[in-house]
């Protein structure tokens, strides 16, 4: 009897979920973690030719994806990153390089050099501006999918930072403009120091223990909490039901 109950509940949950097809945006930040980033050959504005893994082996990397003709999020992304790195907590002795790479195949090394100058980063030793001839493989290895719009001559794309440790593994991905605390966690993670992380709520995640409200910044208990209490509640209820039934039968 229990088995039937269980199966029908399962069918109910699954059928109801068929509609809730996984949104690529939800939980996108958690994809590719612990996977190896594509070992793209890089041309750095300093004139060096190195591969992604060689560069990561020198120092773990924060990779920022931009393009030089960008009229949107690219500049704020770099400026915010530069500022956050100055104030990020507990990263004093941590090693890292920032690799700013263009995902627009039309960008040249010269374009990237101009960009570095624009942000006054051309002489910062741990900032590397680069291009690669294997951009499509590189971006697909981190699930980054910019879309070109002919009307605006712009890419529609996310502001993405990817943390890569010195073995070439993706340790963390940050989406959007992030504060110094988040950047600190990113730097820790590429140095293989534990950095707490959790899956973002999405439409396919129905039974969270907590629901986060971005407006108030507060967590409230979610449906998941009920599931934790359920076994105890059901057990005591079953106990009472068994007793009532056996008493009425014996009467």
């Amino acid at each position: 009897m229990h088995k039937y109950g269980l199966t029908s509940f399962l069918i109910f949950v699954c059928s109801f979920l068929v509609d809730a097809v996984a949104q690529p945006a939800a939980g996108w930040q958690e994809t590719n973690i612990n996977e190896v980033i594509y070992n793209a050959p890089l041309q750095i504005i300093s004139g060096d030719h190195v591969s992604m893994h060689q560069l990561a082996a020198q120092n773990p990397l924060v990779v920022a994806f931009v393009f030089t003709r960008c009229s949107g999020i690219c500049a704020p992304l770099i400026i915010q990153l530069k500022e956050s790195l100055q104030f990020a907590p507990n990263i004093g002795n941590k090693k890292y390089n920032v690799l700013v790479i263009s995902f627009d195949p039309r960008d040249s090394v010269k374009d990237m050099e101009n960009m570095a100058t624009r942000f006054n980063l051309q002489h910062e030793g741990n900032w590397k501006f680069a291009v690669t001839d294997s951009i499509s493989r590189l971006i697909s290895s981190v699930n980054f999918n910019p879309v070109w719009y002919e009307q605006t001559l712009q890419f529609d794309h996310d502001a993405l930072l990817v943390g890569v440790n010195s073995q070439g593994f993706v340790t963390k991905k940050l989406l959007g403009l992030r504060n110094s605390k988040d950047i600190g966690l990113l730097i820790n993670s590429i140095n293989n120091v534990f950095s707490p992380t959790y899956r973002l709520p999405g439409q396919s995640n129905l039974f969270s223990c907590y629901n986060y409200n971005p407006k108030t910044g507060k967590n409230t208990p979610g449906l998941g909490m009920l599931f934790i209490a359920l076994p105890a509640i059901l057990s005591f209820s079953i106990l009472i039901i068994i007793r009532l039934v056996s008493k009425s039968k014996s009467a």
Partner: protein, 480 residues
């Protein structure tokens, strides 16, 4: 006919448990040898070995406790032979599925199959659903068994009587609740709760698996449910063993039956409630778990274990101190088992204290304490029962030979095996490593020593098991 059937089933349970126990110890020794560097398994094989060792050990000592409790419960109420047989059949099917999924399918996510590991397929793709369905088969069989035993008790005793509430105030109540009934009911209710937690857990995991990612689980919820199930069942199976001891220890020792007093009733009622909350101590390192639940975890760990351990130890000491006791292999095993349970319990309470857990979390201290109250605690409770049962009800009676040799090997092997875990734990050697990095200088040596002592323990178990085994086979084969 029903009572005879239960007796025969009990003998079959004992045979199955003993065979699987010996096989699982051998797997345990292979793991320690690998950690010591004496043999070389690839990590996948090591973890498949660890997974099947862990889940089999938990499963067999749970059913051993249930079979013993079911057998003794027949003294008080009529139990269901059909439910017992159904559980037996489901257990055999479930165990075969588990062993196939790990040893052939190479499933190796650990006995706690912590989310999302089962879905990070690093083995044959069919092994994940087979492992989860195996748990479902076991769960259904055990749920039916537990419910049938609870029903048998509740037909005779009211809720307040079965939990001995009339003993709280009244020294000589009209209806006395035997301690065996009290502790059995408390354990069965706890088992019911953790099996329901397992059902919820499996439904959620199946939903994710069969929806191909359209539904994803909340990792915190799954971890809470996993330990609700895992931690609680590992504790309740000990209490099943203790229920048997409360009934048989005085009887075998030639002493008057133990009675339920107000403090025994209160202590076990506390256990009933708090053991359901103690699992939170497995989540101390989970930063998203609210702080309040972490504190509940620590307090519940104390309140679930200390009172019941206190009254049990007190009862045993009163029973043996300066009194003439008829010592036999069974009550000696019970006695040593209680010592092992208490020592392991102290190790567990140390680890469940938040400030200590920062140091001991996921070190070998954890297997040290749970192996103490299992390998030198609960296993001995059940072996004591198996021995008593096989001698009492078999036609092949005769003097027990080599008793002191068996006990000496058991003590030497058991203590040495556990000491190697404790020392390594205190030195922060991590648990669940297939081989140790050079930085852990003493880890390999301790692992090898652990394997040697575990082999001595295995020899003792062989010596014990062979006579029990023969007597039980005899009972199963002969009509009586």
């Amino acid at each position: 006919m029903e009572a005879k059937g239960i007796k025969k089933n009990t003998a079959i349970w004992i045979i199955a448990v003993l065979v699987l126990f010996v096989l699982s110890i051998i797997l345990g020794i292979i793991m320690r040898l690998n950690q010591g560097g004496a043999v070389h398994l690839d990590p996948g094989t090591f973890y498949a070995d660890m997974t099947i060792h862990g889940i089999t050990m938990i499963g067999i000592w749970f059913v051993a406790g249930m079979a013993g409790v079911n057998f003794i419960m027949e003294r008080y109420v009529k139990t269901s032979y059909r439910a017992n047989t159904f559980a037996l059949v489901m257990t055999v099917i479930g165990v075969v599925m588990l062993w196939v999924s790990t040893l052939i399918g190479d499933f190796h996510a650990g006995w706690t199959f912590l989310y999302p590991l089962p879905f990070k397929i690093a083995w044959s793709a069919w092994a994940t659903p087979m492992f989860l369905w195996a748990l479902a088969v076991l769960g259904v069989g055990w749920l039916v068994w537990v419910l049938s035993l609870m029903t048998a008790l509740l037909k005779k005793y009211s809720i307040s009587q079965v939990f001995a509430w009339q003993h709280f105030r009244n020294k000589n109540p009209e209806v006395e609740t035997p301690p065996f009934i009290l502790i059995s009911m408390i354990s069965l209710l706890g088992v019911l709760a953790c099996l329901i937690a397992a059902v919820v857990l499996l439904v959620l995991l199946f939903a994710e698996y069969y929806s191909h990612g359209a539904f994803v689980n909340d990792a915190l919820l799954i971890k809470n449910l996993t330990y609700f199930f895992g931690h609680t069942i590992a504790n309740e199976m000990l209490y099943l063993g203790l229920a048997i001891i409360y009934e048989l220890f005085p009887e075998i020792s030639g002493r008057p039956k133990w009675k339920t007093t107000w403090y025994v009733a209160i202590a076990w009622n506390l256990t009933l409630f708090f053991v359901l909350l103690a699992f939170f101590h497995h989540l101390y390192m989970d930063f998203v778990q609210p702080e309040g639940l972490q504190i509940v975890g620590q307090l519940a760990s104390y309140l679930a274990s200390l009172p019941s351990a206190g009254v049990t130890v007190f009862s045993v000491i009163v029973a043996v101190y300066r009194t003439k006791i008829k010592w036999s292999l069974s009550n000696l095993l019970f006695f040593i088992g209680i010592a092992g349970w208490v020592i392991g319990g102290v190790g567990a309470v140390i680890d469940a204290t938040i400030s200590n857990n920062f140091l001991l979390h996921n070190t070998l201290w954890v297997p040290a304490h749970f192996h103490s109250y299992n390998a030198m605690g609960n296993v001995l409770f059940s072996l004591g029962f198996f021995h008593w049962f096989s001698v009492e009800y078999s036609k092949r009676k005769g003097p027990e030979r080599l008793s002191s040799l068996k006990l000496s090997f058991l003590l030497l092997g058991g203590i040495g095996f556990l000491a190697a875990f404790y020392v390594a734990g205190a030195e922060s050697v991590p648990r669940r490593y297939s081989s140790y990095p050079v930085e852990f200088t003493s880890a390999k040596l301790l692992a090898t020593l652990g394997a040697v002592f575990a082999t001595v323990y295995l020899i003792a178990i062989f010596l014990f098991v062979s006579s029990i085994f023969k007597r039980c086979i005899n009972m199963v084969l002969h009509r009586s």
